[in-house]
Symmetry: C5
Subunit: 354 residues, 5 copies
């Protein structure tokens, strides 16, 4: 499974609008849940066939259609036909390797964002594509796999408190996006905690696996960056898009999301800088520690080498070596060696190598 | 306590406009002080309940309401209701992990800036969120904890000299922001002094804890940068915002703040460069010093190793070793060793290794 | 053959509009294939002489003229005369070292893009220039060598399904560009796979040829970047160009291509970052491993050097060495040596060098 | 004295418009010189009290008031009152730690630029703030200390040749700014000469103080950059400012200054790159030289260690060592050692380590 | 002669419009050649005195005046007077250290570009300033020294084929600029070839002079960059300048030059990246090779040191050393040493250090 490349979006050269699902099949059977609501009422159910949708579309109530699992291509095409979705949009929905983007069509807005998950065990960040189709009175959200990320929004709809039910589908779209962006903060927090952990480890105990941890975090940050950067442009575009599909009251909330996205990006950039700084520190620490080791060891060796040389001299077997006969020869040899050792130590001390 | 991540703003997925205080509770009981003034008079008091505020809001005098401590959520909500503050604004006020920003609403301007403190003991920069709500005749400032940062402004109000009392609340807002930005210079000065100290230390005495000092300063600068950068955009926005809440006479003063913010940013960027340069110098110094050590030590070893070899030769116990019998054998051995040592020293000298 | 420089476009100083072919002659005889189509019919043939083209140009049907091999300069000039192509355009067509670009003339649009190939054996990316001339009812595509890249588009034309036949030549031009950009993803995938391979190799087994692999990949990425960056501007320009040659319905599809180009660029930038990170990791790993080796070896040497010194002492031949006469002298020497070894080991242990 | 930080502009929190001089007192008594001129006449004098200025301001002649020494705050305030200068401007004049900037008021333009000096002995660049107040018929220039930088302009005024006398005060302001920017080139030349010197030194003789020289030059370049960058914006702003204070004929000359400022900035950026390159080269040279040393020394040691081992073997005192009794044992030992030495040398040679 | 700094443009502080020639005097006597042409005729001659020019200026034919050698200041001033050239322009013409730029005056356009030469022997890039003055029916080109760069244009004028004679002087100016830019490609090719050469050398044989070659190439690229970057803006400006001096038909050709300039810049940026990559590779290669050397040598030393210790033990002269008396003592010693050597080798092998 490729970590660094998104899979080619489709078979290269196939006609645009050709639906080819490129992801893993993360769920067996797509699950379609419908929430149909207006200010003071809400009906919720799971449907089997797409045909059940038809009456809902034209009803005056708001309809949120959530689809988990997008590999059932005929179903996607059927939905496209019902709601008047452009083939290129359908293609983008099933090509999950897509860049976050927003596109406005006559009758709907198409938004692609990335839901991010932090895999605790592998310490990696993975992404899942979420497509939103925002029509006048309906919102279709499509995910690759079922998840509980949208549950808080569902809960708020069910409770019916606050702005969510009286507002239109654009507010619902905002709520979902807000939800996804909120989730980014959770991931940033986890990564931030790991960065801190490494920062402490470097100072206290530079072990051999720190470079790997830094490397992995760096790659996670690069990955995050690639997923989040386009969001800024998207939300800004939504804020300013001249379309009836987004009410002015919702634009204010989009500004709020915009702020959060910018904050996420700021934090990601800080993390890059921080990781760079930690790596620099790690290298300096390791190198200093190594230098320290080498210096002490080399000094020991350097002191004993001349002394061993003196011992070697008087280990020679020449017949005529006057020193060997001297009664105080042995003591003298020791004295010479001591002088050498002390002189070297003094020299090292003076040079501040000790 | 997380150093690198701002805490997630709220429980991910909760409805927008839900107030959740995420910071530490830095003060037990919020303290609300009111300064009600016009050109020639000033009344100042501390109030207990929010209801005392009501008559002040519609009075023709200027009212500055300063609130220390923002964890009392019902109080915040009550204020919001009184002054017609948007729920998203209230949420941003209590979520202290927010990015500096400015937002204009119909009846007020909302400004978030960061007050920075330099913790002498831990040599770290910490930040505190200051929210300003600027209405037509009132200004509400909200801080996490009581502090003396705004005292000079209070003093000027009390003395009633200069422009501050006759001008409107927009000038007061300017004065507070100016105050905060002025404070940044104090922090920059402290960091600058530390950078200089390290710069001198590198040249004179590269010790082992320099990398840590550089690392910590770098992180402080990254932190500062993240807090200050958005301010530039904010002040620029305020200068140009088409709103009646800011008078033209005040815009000139905002230009002044703008200049100071740009100067702060310039200085921060210089610090980054300077720290990078110091780090480079440190590494070069350490590496040069190490090389010096290793070279001298290695040379000593290298000279004695061949000499010891010669001594080893004549320490062999072969029965038939003619040199051992020569009367001048011992002297000759010394001569050979001397020749080797001198030759090696000359070679090293010639190669400029000594 | 120069890898890093595009060949000078023409003999420096020659008149603009002078046709000089600078590439390799990749095909002996240019091959001209024609597809003449409207919604419900298609004729396809290969022609020999350029004169056969004349009746087709003014016919109401769409005509796609594909030319493989562009070194036959008189032929190019003849085509230029038939279709009213500007001399500078003709010069750019045969100067294959050109930067991707788009230029609009009164009667046609001129588009230069690069088709990229990944040479498996040499692990290098090579490029081929594709020129498109888009007129009102004709499209001329010129390639340096015949290839199968455009086959899927031909197939779709033959099958006559979908949008391709009823739409105009602008849609055909889009289809060809889409095809080329789709091909980029294939190359990105291959490079991505190689990056992953190296990433794994660094962790598991840092061998000596990793730096070369990283270096080559880096150069491939630099090359890719240079070829793809201008495309973004080009497609954006086409989307917004005020010309009758591109219908509004096609602009939507160009947006799609634009997204893909941006995604390609994003991925290329990520690759740069990833390769930089891998290089850093590699260097750290190698350096750590080396340090480890040196440390262990140096420690062994350092322990034995003092012990050997002791042995050397008692190898001296002084007449009066009291220790030599002691019955337990030998045992004592061993003891001394053992103490030295243990003391050093303890010291190293304490300093955490072991 | 702080090298890296500009002193905080004023006591943090003091009211805007409060004059506090923050620099060193570089001159005892401010010196005010006046040049009053029109096309065909010029009067020049030094005045003692500010009151002497009053009649000059409203005269139809041009008046250039040059003030050396700005610590006399009452004097500054008096001038402000006479000429209708905004308090914020006065504050900026005496706060010499200011960023270069331009501000337009109703009745005057306020320009802050930096005069740079190169301190030969300390090899540092220092800056002095120059403030220009350009009114309709007067120009006030304020410097911290007296200097000869403006002498050439004075000389041109006295000689009365060329454009300077007939043109208005805006041309005079231009002439002063041109003068200051011209001076930058002198400093760039000096720094450029030092860079060249270091570049040569690296190649010929990498000594231990090169890193410091590079470091100091780098910091000088960072400092220069910070002082010069804002100038570009300032001159551009002056060129385009819609004000009657600057005549169209002068704008052309401002374009000329603009070109020079851009050239200064270009050169500064080149210097950064060049210094980076020199530092890289230095490190590579030092490291290569060190490697060379270590390699040769290690090889010498490595050859003698096995030979010494052989000698050690036959220095053992075992009773039964057959080789010792052989008549040709000694010769054989030599032969063995020679073989070892030659084999090792051949191995090193083959591996290209020699 | 300064390599890194352009000479200060004039004596700092001299009046603007003062002509001071700052370059080397590259030719003794300026040479003025005139080509006077219209569609069907051409006269060409070399003139001695500037007065001969006067009748040509007002003639209805196009006149190209080429001046080699610009140190004859009175001549330059005379030309300036004849053609109504602004003093600042004249100053810029003789100040050859100028940045490329374009300036439009009422009656002429002033263009400064850099002709680049590659000095084969010194492997350096040098530049020469070319000034173009484009009037309604005349073009003046000024060079520091005579050269053959413009010969192809002259040849085309003489032959009278193509567009060059019928078009106006703006086309001639384009032709000259195109010529100069074409020449850049030649230089890029040479530098590209050198980069390739070094790239190969690094892989095959990292010698000690590679860092210098990389350093010199880097500096050449920095130099090139500084000369070429401004050109982009210049040509773009010419394309869009609202002036009658440039006909619409010529603007298309300027687009062509623009493309080439962008391509040159792209290539220069690639070269920077490539050189950075090669430097990284070089350092890694050298370091890896060095590590390899050190490792093998250290291992050899480490194996023999314990063995030599054993030999040292049995070289001691203690009276009571039981092993020395054992008949198989000597063999045992060998065995012990063999065991040590094998154990160490096995350990190294297991740790993958061999």
């Amino acid at each position: 499974m490729s970590r660094f490349v998104e899979k080619s979006r489709k078979k290269a050269g196939s006609a645009p609008g050709t639906l080819v699902y490129v992801g893993e099949r993360k769920i067996d059977q797509p699950r379609i849940t419908i929430m149909d609501y207006e200010s003071d009422q809400l009906s919720e159910r799971t449907i089997k066939t797409i045909d059940e949708l038809i009456p809902l579309v034209d009803s005056p109530t708001m309809t949120w259609i959530n689809i988990d699992g997008i590999h059932d291509l005929p179903m996607i095409e059927k939905i496209g036909a019902h709601f008047g979705i452009h083939p290129l949009t359908l293609e983008d929905i099933v090509n999950t390797g897509h860049r976050p983007k927003v596109e406005s069509f006559d009758n709907y807005l198409f938004i692609v964002i990335k839901m991010l998950h932090h895999d605790e065990t592998e310490k990696r960040v993975t992404s899942e594509q979420v497509s939103l189709l925002l029509g006048p009175r309906w919102l279709i959200s499509l995910q690759e796999a079922p998840g509980d990320t949208f549950d808080p929004v569902r809960e708020r709809l069910r409770k019916g408190k606050g702005r969510i039910r009286p507002s239109g589908c654009d507010y619902l779209a905002y709520a979902l996006m807000d939800n996804v962006v909120d989730h980014y903060f959770t991931i940033l927090e986890k990564i931030g905690a790991q960065i801190e952990e490494i920062d402490d480890a470097v100072t206290e105990n530079p072990q051999i696996d720190i470079p790997h941890d830094i490397h992995n975090l760096k790659q996670a940050v690069i990955y995050l960056r690639k997923q989040v950067w386009p969001l800024r442009e998207i939300v800004n575009h939504l804020k300013k898009e001249e379309t009836d599909l987004i009410h002015d009251s919702t634009r204010l909330f989009l500004s709020d999301v915009y702020d959060h996205v910018v904050q996420v990006i700021d934090t990601i950039e800080s993390y890059r800088d921080l990781l760079g700084g930690i790596r620099d520190l790690y290298l300096t620490m390791v190198s200093n520690r190594m230098n320290e080791v080498m210096k002490v060891l080399t000094i020991i060796a350097t002191i004993f080498i001349p002394m061993t040389f003196v011992a070697g001299i008087y280990g020679m077997n020449f017949k005529y070596m006057p020193e060997l006969e001297w009664p105080w020869g042995y003591g003298l040899a020791w004295a010479v060696m001591a002088v050498i050792a002390i002189a070297l130590l003094a020299f090292f001390k003076k040079r501040k190598w000790l």
